[in-house]
C-alpha cells in the first residue's frame, strides 16, 4: 500500500505542477526574464530547497494535525479525490485550491471513518484560508509601494534590471514556498505517519513529477489564468504579488497549515492593483475563483466521504 500511496503522490505532484505552472514558470517566462531552461532551473531549485529545508513541517498536516491517523486506504481516497478535482479544475482553466481540496478530501475520509477531528487546528486552517488573501493583499500593497518608492530614484535601465531580478527572485521564493508547503503536504500524506529514511530521494522524485507536469502540460490554459485574465499588472506589481504570496505560504508552513497559493495571489493582486489604482478587474473570474475556495473543499469532503462509505 505504501508504494501505491507514493505512486498517487507522484501523480498528484504531476497535476500540481500542471495546475501551478503559471506560478512556477509562467511569470518568469511570460515576462521574458529567463529562458525556459532558466525558468525550469529556478523552479527545481526552489521546490527542492523548500521541501528539503522545510517540508518536514508539513508531514503531519493532515493525519496527525487535523484528525487522528487514518488508514492507508483512507489516504488513498484522499489522493484520488484530490487528483480528480484538481484535474477537473485544470481542464476548466481555473487554478484549483489544491491544498484546500486535499484538506476537504481528508476530512471527508476522517468523518467517514469516525476518526477524531482536531477542531482547533481545523479552525486554524480554515481561518487561515480566509485571512491569508487579506494579509497577502496588504503585504503586496506595502511591497508595491516600497518598490515604486525605491525605483523612482533610479534610472529606467536600473529599474528594468531590478524588475528582471525581482521577477526571478519572486519566482524562486514562490517555488520554495510551494515546495515546503504543498510538496511537503503531498509527501507527508503519502508517508501517512511513517518515517522515511530516504526522505531526500522521495522529495526529489515528487519535485521532478511536479516539474514534468509544469513542462509537459502547463504551457497554456490555466498557466495564464490569474496573470492574464484577472487584471493587468506592471512588473513591479507582479513581483509584489509573488513575494507577498510566497511570504504567506511560508507563514502557513510555519503553522503547519496547508495553503493554496492561488488564494494568496488573488489577494495579492488586488492589493497591488489598489496600490497602482487599477480599475479594470475581471470580476467574473474573481468571483469564480473565490467561489471555488468554498465549493471545492466542500465537494472534496462530500466525494471522499461517499467513497469511503461506499
Amino acid at each position: 500500500m505504501a508504494e501505491s500511496l507514493l505512486l498517487l503522490a507522484a501523480v498528484l505532484s504531476f497535476v500540481f505542477g500542471w495546475n501551478n505552472s503559471s506560478f512556477l514558470i509562467g511569470n518568469v517566462r511570460g515576462s521574458g526574464a529567463l529562458s525556459l531552461r532558466g525558468a525550469l532551473a529556478v523552479t527545481v531549485i526552489g521546490l527542492l530547497a523548500g521541501v528539503l529545508f522545510e517540508g518536514q513541517k508539513m508531514l503531519r498536516s493532515l493525519d496527525g494535525d487535523l484528525a487522528a491517523a487514518v488508514s492507508a486506504q483512507g489516504m488513498a481516497v484522499t489522493f484520488v479525490v484530490s487528483i480528480a478535482i484538481t484535474v477537473a479544475m485544470t481542464f476548466a482553466d481555473l487554478p484549483a485550491s489544491f491544498s484546500a481540496t486535499m484538506v476537504g478530501a481528508f476530512l471527508g475520509v476522517a468523518l467517514a471513518l469516525g476518526s477524531r477531528i482536531y477542531l482547533g487546528q481545523t479552525y486554524l486552517v480554515v481561518a487561515f484560508w480566509f485571512v491569508a488573501p487579506l494579509l497577502s493583499g496588504l503585504a503586496a500593497f506595502l511591497i508595491h509601494r516600497s518598490i515604486r518608492h525605491a525605483e523612482s530614484r533610479l534610472g529606467l535601465v536600473a529599474v528594468d534590471s531590478m524588475n528582471r531580478w525581482g521577477t526571478v527572485l519572486g519566482s524562486l521564493a514562490t517555488a520554495y514556498a510551494l515546495g515546503a508547503n504543498n510538496i511537503g503536504l503531498i509527501l507527508g500524506s503519502a508517508l501517512n505517519g511513517s518515517q522515511a529514511s530516504d526522505f531526500s530521494v522521495l522529495a526529489l522524485g515528487l519535485t521532478l513529477a511536479a516539474l514534468a507536469g509544469t513542462l509537459l502540460l502547463g504551457r497554456g490554459g490555466v498557466s495564464g489564468t490569474i496573470g492574464d485574465r484577472l487584471l493587468v499588472l506592471t512588473p513591479q506589481g507582479v513581483i509584489s504579488v509573488f513575494v507577498s504570496s510566497a511570504l504567506l505560504v511560508w507563514l502557513g508552513t510555519q503553522l503547519r497549515v496547508p495553503v493554496s497559493i492561488s488564494q494568496c495571489i488573488l489577494g495579492g493582486m488586488l492589493g497591488a492593483a489598489l496600490s497602482q489604482n487599477v480599475a479594470v478587474i475581471n470580476r467574473r473570474l474573481m468571483i469564480e475563483s473565490i467561489g471555488s475556495w468554498v465549493v471545492v473543499p466542500a465537494l472534496a469532503l462530500v466525494a471522499s466521504y461517499l467513497l469511503m462509505a461506499a
Binding site: S31, A33, R148, G155, S161, R164
Partner: protein, 221 residues
C-alpha cells in the same frame, strides 16, 4: 545611480541615445541648409542637403539594428513595445528633416519670394524651435537614465517647443499668403508644403516625448 547588471539593456539604451544624436545632427544639418538657402549660398546648401540624406540613412540603419536587438531578447519588462515605438518616433524626425530638405531643394537659385520668406524672423524662430525640440528630446531621454523625477521635469519642454514652432509656422504661412500678387504659385505651394513637412520635425519629437511619458508611467509601475 548605476546598477552593474542589465548590460544588454543599458547598451540598447545608450544605442537609443546614439540614434537620437544622429537624428539631432541631421536636424542640425537641415537647419544649416535653410540658413545657407536664406543667404543664397547654393553650394553650401547642396552640401548640407547631402549631410541630411547621409545622416537620415545612418539613423535608419541604427534604428533597424536597435529594433532587432530589442525584439531578439532585451528584457525591458512591460515596456518593450514602447521602446520600439520610441525608436520609430525618433526615426520619423529624421525622415521629416529629409523630406522637408528635399521639398526646398532646387537645381538653381530659389525664387526671391522664397528667399525673402526664409530670411524672416518668424522663419528663423521656426527652424530654431524645430532644432530645440529635438535637443529637448535628447535631454529628456538622457534624464530617463537618472530618475523618474528628472525625466518628469523635462517631459513638457518638448511639447512647449512644439507649440512655439506651431505659432511660428502660422506666422510664416500668414506672411506667405499675405501678398501673393505676382508670386509664382508653384513657389507658394512649395513653401507651404515645406512648412508643413518641416513642422513634422517638432511634431515627431513631441510624439516621441509622449512615448517617453508612457515609458515613465509603465516602467516605474
Amino acid at each position: 545611480m548605476k546598477i552593474s547588471f542589465g548590460g544588454r539593456e543599458r547598451a540598447i539604451f545608450q544605442g537609443v541615445e546614439g540614434d537620437l544624436r544622429i537624428v539631432a545632427s541631421a536636424v542640425e544639418s537641415f537647419s544649416n541648409m535653410i540658413a545657407a538657402l536664406a543667404a543664397e549660398r547654393q553650394e553650401d546648401a547642396a552640401g548640407y542637403l547631402q549631410e541630411v540624406l547621409d545622416k537620415e540613412k545612418e539613423a535608419d540603419d541604427s534604428h533597424r539594428a536597435l529594433s532587432t536587438q530589442i525584439a531578439e531578447g532585451a528584457f525591458f519588462g512591460g515596456v518593450r513595445e514602447d521602446m520600439l515605438n520610441l525608436l520609430e518616433k525618433i526615426d520619423n524626425i529624421a525622415d521629416s528633416a529629409k523630406d522637408a530638405a528635399r521639398l526646398i531643394e532646387t537645381e538653381g537659385s530659389l525664387d526671391s519670394t522664397a528667399v525673402s520668406l526664409l530670411k524672416t524672423q518668424a522663419m528663423k524662430d521656426f527652424i530654431l524651435h524645430q532644432r530645440d525640440a529635438v535637443s529637448a528630446l535628447q535631454d529628456l531621454v538622457a534624464a530617463l537614465e537618472v530618475s523618474k523625477s528628472q525625466a518628469l521635469s523635462k517631459v513638457h519642454i518638448v511639447e512647449e517647443l512644439e507649440e512655439a514652432a506651431d505659432t511660428d509656422k502660422s506666422e510664416v504661412i500668414r506672411q506667405l499668403f499675405s501678398n501673393t500678387t505676382g508670386v509664382n504659385p508653384i513657389t507658394v505651394i512649395q513653401m507651404r508644403d515645406f512648412m508643413f513637412e518641416a513642422d513634422d520635425i517638432a511634431d515627431n519629437a513631441e510624439d516621441a516625448s509622449d512615448v517617453v511619458l508612457i515609458l515613465i508611467a509603465k516602467g516605474y509601475g
